[in-house]
Amino acid sequence: MHASTPNIVFHAEGVTKTYQMGEVQVHALRGVDLELYESEFVVLLGASGSGKSTLLNILGGLDIPTSGTVGYKDHDLTVYKDSVLTRYRREHVGFVFQFYNLIPSLTARENVALVTEISTNPLVPEEALELVGLGERLDHFPAQMSGGEQQRVAIARAIAKRPDVLLCDEPTGALDLKTGIVVLEAIERVNRELGTTTVVITHNVDIAQMADRVIRLRDGRIISDEANPDRKAPSELSW
């Protein structure tokens, strides 16, 4: 944890989320209390269905809780007002998804440009791609890149707007070890060099070793919240 900067950026209290999947009611979150600090690297650990993606979506302004309070700095994230949440995402949040969600009809550079074009103080797309080690693949379409490369484009796209928080949903979930590590290095580098508060959700326990703090979820509740004083570099990880 960066003890010198204990500013709280996210504050969540009593967050629950229930949604309807077909005919089934899913209780994704059953009362979550949470604080996240500026510049810290947090890993949310949990099995599939533990509620971690739901929590991330709520933090990112993609969804709102059924009950409880969530705030980012002075933004209230519990009211679904599309224009407000859209602005919040545009100005503060960078997303990385498990399945990259690149626009298939745009090249790497253009996928990044898609975001930089609507940001006020972005990196230039080339710079962002350089940061994730893809300076050479600027004009490739998603279909012409490997999964790891696509995910790194997604990271470049997420950080190019210099977000205040970077939210990554299983960023290595679809990747093998080696490419996974390259992707994690890219995320770590962004956290380190730009000081972006970073939240990575994963079910992979090993990735937790590179975090400042590890939060475990099960059945929609936080079951542990531990600082990790011995933060490892991604290259030291294996799974």
């Binding site: 739901t54 997303f95 969600n101 009809s105």
Partner: protein
């Protein structure tokens, strides 16, 4: 170009097949609109120009005989601009090597050639020259029908005298654009001709030296037509006028106006249907297309793109497609417009065509199209952006499939797993399925409109000629004559039976409405000419009172059986009488008023006169009869029924053929467009599922069955609905086509249903095959790599 626009462009390239199909559907609607309206505008403009440049008169008055000195009195009427007095003479025409009876009308032109009003448009040759008494100018359709060229000769029989004439020119005049033998329903240019001769020789031949029997005039600006008519009638009354009338009652103009009005009705109808259906389909297709981009929309939203930006993005995409459709539509519409205009110019016998495509029409249609596209896109985008991004990125909940109705009935055992998939998928999204079904059904309905007119016309002809007008030959006398004439005709060798008719021109007045028509007097229990009631059963004429056809009574005069009709006879002593309307009869072609011939003659106070006859003849002695008839000077009009029917078919065939072609083309495009798009979108939506099945070991054929089977079911559901819709649509069209010339009953022959069904099935099959090709190239690995 920014990244979003690049995405737009590349998406369009990727979707080119679907985009083209959508554009083609729009283009069909658009082209239909442009075709009809540019044809209408062009014909109206061409007619206006013709009327203006060739000085079509505004008021006409026929009379028996007036000295030329009366002309000045007419010219002095307040409001009259130019006056032309002429001689108009009915003649029999004798053409070498053509045995059939040919009649015609000779109109005088000044000895020096060019008349003041109703000028002659010369196609070839020249007008008559001073001092040449045997020169004649003939109408173009008549010349064409017989292959006449300037220099050729023909004979006319006028007032019983035979006269040889030399053709010097071929042309037409605005007065005789539509050339119809009096009493005929359809033009027959082979057996009826319009001729123009110099005044002096015609006056000698017709015994009207120094006199005239017809007046044409134009009005000065702001003149009151009715005042002029009243004055004119007063002046001409001693000279046997049957009453002056305005252009609207002039035969050629009236017919042409009715036809244009008809075209106008069609133009208001078909294009709206086409454009409406196209817009509906656009809406459906766009909604589904944008639906397939749900995840991309979610991503864009996650990055912070707002709804407006996303909506604009998709709007641009659809607008590009719509614009492509509009451009295609303009091109196709202009092409078909020229074709259709030319058919009509030929049909209406306008001498020239000024084709116009008015920008305002294009703008109208384009706005309509754009708005349709706009609404479709907005609805689709709204649906897509309404979802919270997290929701749309979350895998869609397993769809709530249920056992279908058919399975619930216990037929489950009969259905294979793929068949169940098909049924459940259709019933899973009933609204979406219903829209596809409706779209295909519309295409089917449009196809029927292309064919139903033919069925209807065949039916009308069967009724008209099979039940009502059953004569082989009909004859008209130059003036009322005695029953002896009929007896003479009956005694001609080859004539099997004959009936008399008395036709009297009259103004029929009821309350504030009036109509000029002929009252036909038929013999009691007539065999040849019969009237039929609404059930198509022959009815006999009452001994007294008058019988009207339904359209004349209900639509024109607003009179009911039992009411008193005021009849102002325009011939002879011109009596005015109140006559009760006894009953109404069905008559699909033309309008008519009928009386017992005895009652009519009593009304006329003329004794037993007849003005025409209907004959049954022995067909093998036809030419012999024709020869004999030519010798009879008082016979001025002869019609051969068989020929009437043939003429009619010739007239209709071309327009019908064209319309069937256009409707089939457009409906085919619409059918392919909707089926292809449905298939492509279903493919996108279900490629994962289908690829999974392939991985599990299903063959290409088996997965094609699942996808195409769904389309087949939708198509099969659509056809009966389409046939039903088509029935309604045709009924609506039929009702809106009614006018004085004809009433269109709704008749749909089995082959029309078969035709529509076949085209839809073929279109669906073609679309299926196109999609099937894509199914063969399904990339299993790629599909499975993406998230479930």
């Amino acid at each position: 170009m920014n990244a979003l626009n690049r995405k737009l462009w590349r998406d369009l390239v990727n979707l080119r097949g679907q985009a083209f199909a959508i554009a083609a559907v729009m283009a069909s609607g658009f082209a239909c609109y442009i075709m009809f309206l540019s044809t209408l505008d062009s014909l109206q403009l061409s007619r206006e120009l013709y009327y203006r440049d060739y000085r079509f008169a505004e008021i006409f008055a026929p009379l028996k005989r007036a000295p030329e000195s009366v002309r000045q009195r007419i010219a002095d009427i307040k409001g009259v601009e130019k006056v032309d007095t002429r001689i108009v003479a009915p003649v029999t025409i004798d053409i070498e090597g053509f045995p059939d009876p040919v009649t015609g009308v000779v109109t005088s032109i000044p000895d020096s050639g060019d008349p003041l009003l109703n000028r002659i448009y010369l196609r070839s040759g020249r007008l008559v020259e001073v001092g040449r008494s045997d020169e004649v100018v003939i109408s173009e359709p008549f010349a064409e029908a017989h292959g006449f060229q300037p220099g050729d000769k023909l004979h006319i029989i006028i007032r019983g005298k035979r006269k040889q004439l030399r053709i010097v020119g071929i042309g037409g005049s605005p007065e005789y654009i539509h050339q119809l033998r009096p009493g005929a329903v359809f033009p027959d240019h082979e057996r009826f001709g319009i001729l123009w001769m110099a005044r002096t020789p015609l006056s000698h031949a017709y015994d009207l030296e120094g006199a005239f029997n017809s007046v044409a005039l134009t009005l000065s600006r702001g003149a009151n037509a009715q005042d002029v008519i009243d004055r004119l009638d007063m002046i001409l009354k001693p000279y046997g006028t049957t009453g002056a009338f305005v252009r609207d009652d002039q035969a050629s103009h009236k017919f042409l106006s009715q036809e244009l009005q008809q075209l106008d009705n069609m133009s208001g109808l078909f294009p709206i249907i086409f454009l409406g259906v196209a817009a509906f389909l656009l809406n459906v297709v766009v909604t589904r297309l944008v639906g397939t981009q749900r995840e991309q929309i979610a991503s864009l939203k996650a990055f912070g793109y707002d709804n407006l930006a996303i909506a604009i993005h998709y709007l641009k995409m659809i607008m590009l497609i719509v614009f492509a459709g509009i451009l295609m539509g303009i091109a196709v519409g202009a092409w078909l417009g020229v074709e259709l205009s030319e058919i009509y110019v030929e049909l209406f016998r306008l001498p020239f065509l000024n084709f116009v495509m008015q920008p305002s029409r294009v703008i109208q249609a384009a706005s309509f199209t754009l708005v349709a596209g706009l609404l479709g896109t907005l609805a689709a985008v709204r649906m897509a952006v309404k979802l919270k991004p997290a929701e749309s990125m979350r895998p869609e909940a397993p769809a709530e499939y249920r056992q279908t109705f058919i399975e619930a009935l216990g037929l489950k055992r009969l259905l294979s797993a793929p068949a169940r998939m098909i049924l459940r998928h259709i019933s899973h999204k009933p609204f979406k399925s219903a829209l596809s079904v409706l779209g295909i059904a519309f295409a089917c309905a449009i196809l029927m409109t292309g064919r139903f007119q033919e069925d209807t016309i065949t039916f009308m002809m069967d009724v008209h000629y099979g039940l009502s007008e059953r004569d082989d030959i009909s004859l008209a006398f130059s003036e009322p004559t005695s029953y002896k004439a009929l007896a003479e005709l009956r005694s001609l060798p080859g004539v099997e039976y004959g009936e008399a008719v008395r036709a009297v021109p009259a103004r029929l007045v009821y309350q504030h409405r009036s109509y000029r028509a002929y009252i036909s007097g038929y013999e009691p229990n007539a065999e040849i000419k019969r009237l039929v009631n609404t059930d198509l059963k022959p009815v006999s004429l009452p001994r007294s009172g008058i019988v009207l056809n339904e359209y004349l009574a209900k639509e024109i005069l607003g009179i009911r059986p039992g009411d008193l009709l005021t009849v102002e006879v325009l011939e002879g002593s011109q009596p005015v009488r109140q006559i009760p309307v006894v009953s109404l009869v069905r008559q699909d072609l033309g309008v008519g008023a009928y009386m017992d011939i005895g009652a009519l003659n009593r009304l006329m106070q003329e004794g037993n006169a007849i003005s025409g006859a209907y004959l049954y003849i022995d067909d093998s002695r036809k030419n012999e009869i024709f020869e004999r008839l030519k010798e009879r000077p008082r016979i001025v009009g002869t019609a051969v029924r068989e020929q009437d029917i043939r003429n009619f078919h010739r007239t209709m065939d071309e327009t019908m053929l064209f319309w069937t072609f256009v409707a089939t083309l457009f409906a085919g495009v619409i059918a392919v467009g909707i089926v292809y798009n449905s298939a492509r979108i279903t493919l996108t939506e279900r490629s994962h599922e289908l690829a999974s099945l392939r991985v599990l070991g299903f063959t290409r054929g088996e997965i094609s069955y699942i996808l195409l089977g769904e389309l087949a079911v939708l198509t099969l559901l659509a056809i009966p609905l389409g046939l039903l819709l088509g029935n309604v649509l045709c009924g609506y069209i039929a009702a809106s086509l009614d006018n004085e010339l004809y009433r269109v009953p709704l008749i749909l022959a089995p082959h029309t249903y078969a035709f529509a069904t076949t085209v839809i099935l073929v279109s669906a099959t073609i679309s299926g095959l196109l999609v099937r090709r894509r199914l063969d190239h399904l990339d299993l690995i790629e599909v499975l790599k993406t998230k479930e």
